[in-house]
Symmetry: C2
Amino acid sequence: MAIKKRTRIQDVAAKANVSMMTVSRVLNQDAKVSDKTREKVMKVVKELNYRPNVSARRLASSKSFFLGLLYDNPSGSYTSQFLLSALKSCRAKGYHLIVDECSDYNQKTLESLKELIEVSRVDGLILLPPICDNPEILQVIIDANLPFIRIAPDTNLTASPFICMDDYQAAFEVTNRLIEQGHRKIGFIIGHPDQGVSRLRYQGYLDALRSHRINVPPEYIEQGLFDYKSGLDAAMNILSLEDKPTAIFASNDDMAAAVLSAANRFKLDVPEKLSVVGFDDTQLASTIWPHLTTVRQPINEMAALAIDLLSSGKFADLSLANKAQFRHVLDFSIIERESTQDITA
Amino acid sequence: MAIKKRTRIQDVAAKANVSMMTVSRVLNQDAKVSDKTREKVMKVVKELNYRPNVSARRLASSKSFFLGLLYDNPSGSYTSQFLLSALKSCRAKGYHLIVDECSDYNQKTLESLKELIEVSRVDGLILLPPICDNPEILQVIIDANLPFIRIAPDTNLTASPFICMDDYQAAFEVTNRLIEQGHRKIGFIIGHPDQGVSRLRYQGYLDALRSHRINVPPEYIEQGLFDYKSGLDAAMNILSLEDKPTAIFASNDDMAAAVLSAANRFKLDVPEKLSVVGFDDTQLASTIWPHLTTVRQPINEMAALAIDLLSSGKFADLSLANKAQFRHVLDFSIIERESTQDITA
DNA sequence: AAGCGCATTGAGAGCGCTAACAGTAAACTC
DNA sequence: GAGTTTACTGTTAGCGCTCTCAATGCGCTT
């Protein structure tokens, strides 16, 4: 069996009766080509199912068609889901993704980043939280004048385009949902005090209650650190109260999982005696039992958008870019599972 | 500032006083080059920190320098950790990894696989469990005469090289460890009956007890399905017994986490009143509290070895390969955390 | 009508590497 | 010692694409 030869730009050019260069221009969108020619070429491209050879392209052009992804904590399912989506989007756009871990931040991290920029010649970078707020790393990228997109950054919002979701609104809405379900006594476990999202989620919770003129006793609110253990301590405190809440909203899934465990110890059936809400929709949320009601971040969309923005060349030169277009807020969704229940009945 | 030009094979050739072709041969290890020349070239390569341009290489050669990774369940932290390691190894070897998801297995999956083989022209494939046991997928790859490595396969062990760990031995040793710590009444939750590893882990547990002449009452052993809920049910049964075990060994971390939750409900402090052991060392094991004692699979090593084997060309033609060299068993390790305790005191 | 500017298209070189073949010198054969 | 093999190294021609620069055509000015 003869091996099918992949169609080349030549084949397209021949069939469309134009030069290779014209096809190249159509495909790269940037040059001036008459609409007529463009259509003609695109038609043939579709017919032949032509897809450019990335390696040839990379070799011939000044672009590398590589994008870099910098992340920090390799364990989070947030990171891995983002990675998977980014990989998929890159493949669809003919880019390759070079992934670099920056945990154990030190001098070597910066070296490695510089190598990524100078040797691998990435066309752009994506920074995941929390590395996206590291000033030294930002400086290196800015000095190289490389376009980059940050995901859910907390500071320096004018440094680069960024993609995030509305943590405040999500917390507001999910709290509202609990209120709709008849809950009036709703506990809250605050996230890590160093992270911006903790503040936003807390405020959303407070404002939702306030908008329904519900007062919260201060002992319903505990400080957590986003980890299971801190959530467990917080939940034990709240559930030891004489007048227990009928629902607890934890600022992330890990802490919500801990609430379930604490409820278990107090023999409070979830959701019959206690509704529990998390945040993030990590793996954990659908591992434990009952499955957690939680807020899902649009991770796939975030990844796709990041790749889109970088490959579009829209922000090719950040110093010239319109900072008003930096902010990209995506929609979240509330996932109702078995850990919450309507108690109006 | 002038942009540093990346060193090319020409530069190396000039400095080493040989032709480009000789350098190429040294780098690709395959041709006959005298030891003297090889050393001379390698020295210059190191000096200039030369690394070949993957795209040029791919363009000029018949190899694509792409490897494919097929996985099945995107959520598992096993998968994502493997992916991360594989990505790293690939980068080090100048390969690129194309990742393809095969969940929701259907006709489209096979199409996508064929495209991976014919259009992307991957040089080899890595199959993660459980997709590595899918006969249709295997057939497509074998028909294409493409080298592939499977991770922890359960069937068809002569079809390809594979990498696994000794589940039996791990279960045996971790059970032994519990016995050393004074436990005599050890419960066990069996894994999903469809998976080979369940059998092996169960047998390891049984044999460890037998080697110490410890009898297990049948009610100490429950069938699980590898998920949290089944683990919870199993644990509730075991912990409802009049004569409770002092330790429970669950066949994976999800079920072990469920044991913790059940223990909580029975107000059995872990590890004081009950030791709990899991298997896999997933993210979950160090999320929940107390952190789980568990068995860690050498995922990073597995990934590195898989890339190594594929890039070495050792198994370039599977039909000619020595099937005796297919089996690669890597060492596991037992991670002792806070969920187990010595009770001999 | 000649000259100019603009928009669009094409020709040829070359990106960095390797396959295939072509040398070259030493080693071996008889 | 002439012919032949062996072991290594060099030369040439692309891989598929995009860059630079030149060419073409067309409307418009003077």
